[in-house]
Amino acid sequence: MSTAPLLEIRSLAVSFTQYDRGLRRRTVTALAGMDLTADRGELVALVGASGAGKSLLAHAVLGMLPPNAVESGTVRFDGVVLDPAARRDRAGRDLALLPQSVTFLDPVTPVFRQVRRAAVLAGRSAPDAVAGAALEHRGLGPEVHRRYPHQLSGGQVRRVLTAMALMGDPALVVADEPTPGLPAEAVRAALADLRRIADRHRAVVLITHDLAAALEVADRVVICRHGRTVDEARPADFHTDELTHPYTRALWHALPGNGFRLTEDA
C-alpha cells in the first residue's frame, strides 16, 4: 500500500513559445509553480482569479496542452510520475475532464451520439446500452437523445457532460468552472453532483473563481495567483478567520457577505 495521494502535482510550470513578429520568438510563462494534491474521496478546490492559469492546469494534468507548450515539474498519478504523453493516453479513462460549457460539445451532432462516442472511446462494450443508461441515470430519457446541444438547458448540458466524463469510470475528475452564471439552485445541484462523485472513492479537483461555492463542498481549498500556488486552507479556516496568507484573506473579505471590500494586500 502506498500512502501517496492519487494525484500529486509538484512545481508544475508551463510556458509557451510564440512567434512575436516575423521570426522573433518570445517565451510566455503561464504557470510558474503549481502544487496540488488530491486523494480518492477528496474534493479539492483550486481557486484564483481569471487568468491565473487554473484551466491551463486542468489541461496540463490531462496532457492536453498544445505542442508549443513546455512543461516542467512533476505530475504523479498513483505514485507514478506520468509524462504528458502518458497522461494523455489515460485521459478519458483514469483521468477525466468535466469541461466548462456547452462549447465542448459538438454543435451539429445529437447528444446521444456524442455520449455513445464517449463510451466507445472509454472502451466500453455495448456502447448504445451504456450511453442510454448513463443519460437515464441523470434523468435524461430517450426524448433528449436526438436533441442538439443548443436545445438543452444549461443544467441538462452539464448532466450530459458529466455522463460523458464518468464514462470511463475515472479515478480522477477535473471539473473546470462548472458553475459561472448559473442560478443558486443549479450551482448547488452541480456542486452536490461533484461531491457525490468524490464520495464514490474518486478524487475531484474543482477549478473555480467562486470561492463561496468552493467553501460549501470542498475538503481543501488551494489558492493560486499569477500561475503559482500561494496557499492552501480548509473551509473551516475561512469561517473562523484563521487565514494566514494575505491574498486568501483578501479573497474572503471581498465576498459580498463578508464586507465586499479590498484589503491592502489584494
Binding site: A49, G181, H209, A212, L255, P256, F260, L262
Partner: protein, 210 residues
C-alpha cells in the same frame, strides 16, 4: 431624466412565448437598481430591450421621452455591459481600437481613468489580458460613450471576488461622479444586496399573459 419601461412586451418570434410580458419599471439618475431572478426567465432579454438592442413588440422604453438609440453624433444614452468580457472585444483588435470604436479621440483614451484601462493595456490584444481587465475595458468603453444609464448584465459573474469588488468600485464611482443610473442584472442576491439601492424580483415584474 429617467429610464422607463411602460408595459413592455417582447418575444423572439410570433410562434414563441412572451419572454418579457407587461414589464414596467424605472431607473432614476444616480440610482442602482438590481434585477434578480432565475436563469432563463428573460432578465437578459429585458436588459437588451432596455438598452435598445431589441425593440419591444408592445409598450415603450424611453429615456427622457425618447427611445434609447444613437442620435446624430451621439452614442446610445443607455449602454450595455454583459457577462462574458472577452466575447465583447474583437480578438483581432488591440484594446485601444475597441475603445476608439466609441468615437473617442486618442486624447480621451489617454485621459481615461487608469483604473479602467492603464496605458500599458491599450496596446495589448484581448487574449493578453485577464477577465477582470477585459471587463474593466468594457466598462471603460461604455463610459466613453457618455451614457446616462448603464445596463450591467451579470458583469461580474465570471470574475473572482477581488476583481468583482474592483469593478463595482468603478461602477459606483461613475454613479456618484456622473449621476449615471444603473440597472444591474444578477442571479447573485447577496451581491445585489450590497451594490443596489433597491432590488426588483423579475418574477414579480412579469404579468401572466392573458
Amino acid at each position: 431624466m429617467t429610464l422607463r419601461a411602460d408595459d413592455v412586451w417582447f418575444r423572439y418570434s410570433r410562434k414563441s412565448p412572451w419572454v418579457v410580458a407587461g414589464v414596467s419599471l424605472s431607473v432614476e439618475p444616480g440610482e442602482v437598481v438590481g434585477l434578480h431572478g432565475p436563469s432563463g426567465a428573460g432578465k437578459s432579454t429585458l436588459g437588451r430591450v432596455l438598452s435598445g438592442s431589441l425593440h419591444p413588440h408592445r409598450g415603450e422604453v424611453s429615456v427622457d421621452g425618447r427611445p434609447p438609440r444613437p442620435g446624430r453624433g451621439t452614442a446610445n444614452p443607455v449602454q450595455l455591459v454583459a457577462q462574458h468580457a472577452h466575447l465583447a472585444l474583437d480578438p483581432l483588435w488591440k484594446v485601444r481600437r475597441s475603445l476608439a470604436e466609441t468615437g473617442a479621440a486618442d486624447s480621451a483614451l489617454d485621459a481615461l481613468d487608469p483604473a479602467l484601462a492603464p496605458p500599458a493595456l491599450l496596446d495589448r490584444f484581448p487574449h493578453e489580458i485577464s477577465g477582470g481587465e477585459a471587463q474593466r475595458v468594457n466598462l471603460g468603453r461604455a463610459l466613453l460613450a457618455n451614457p446616462r444609464f448603464l445596463v450591467a448584465d451579470e458583469v461580474t459573474a465570471s470574475l473572482d471576488p477581488i476583481s468583482q469588488v474592483e469593478l463595482w468600485g468603478l461602477i459606483s464611482a461613475a454613479v456618484d461622479a456622473r449621476g449615471i443610473g444603473v440597472l444591474t442584472i444578477s442571479h447573485d442576491r447577496p451581491l445585489l444586496d450590497v451594490v443596489a439601492h433597491r432590488v426588483l424580483d423579475f418574477r414579480e415584474l412579469v404579468r401572466t399573459p392573458a
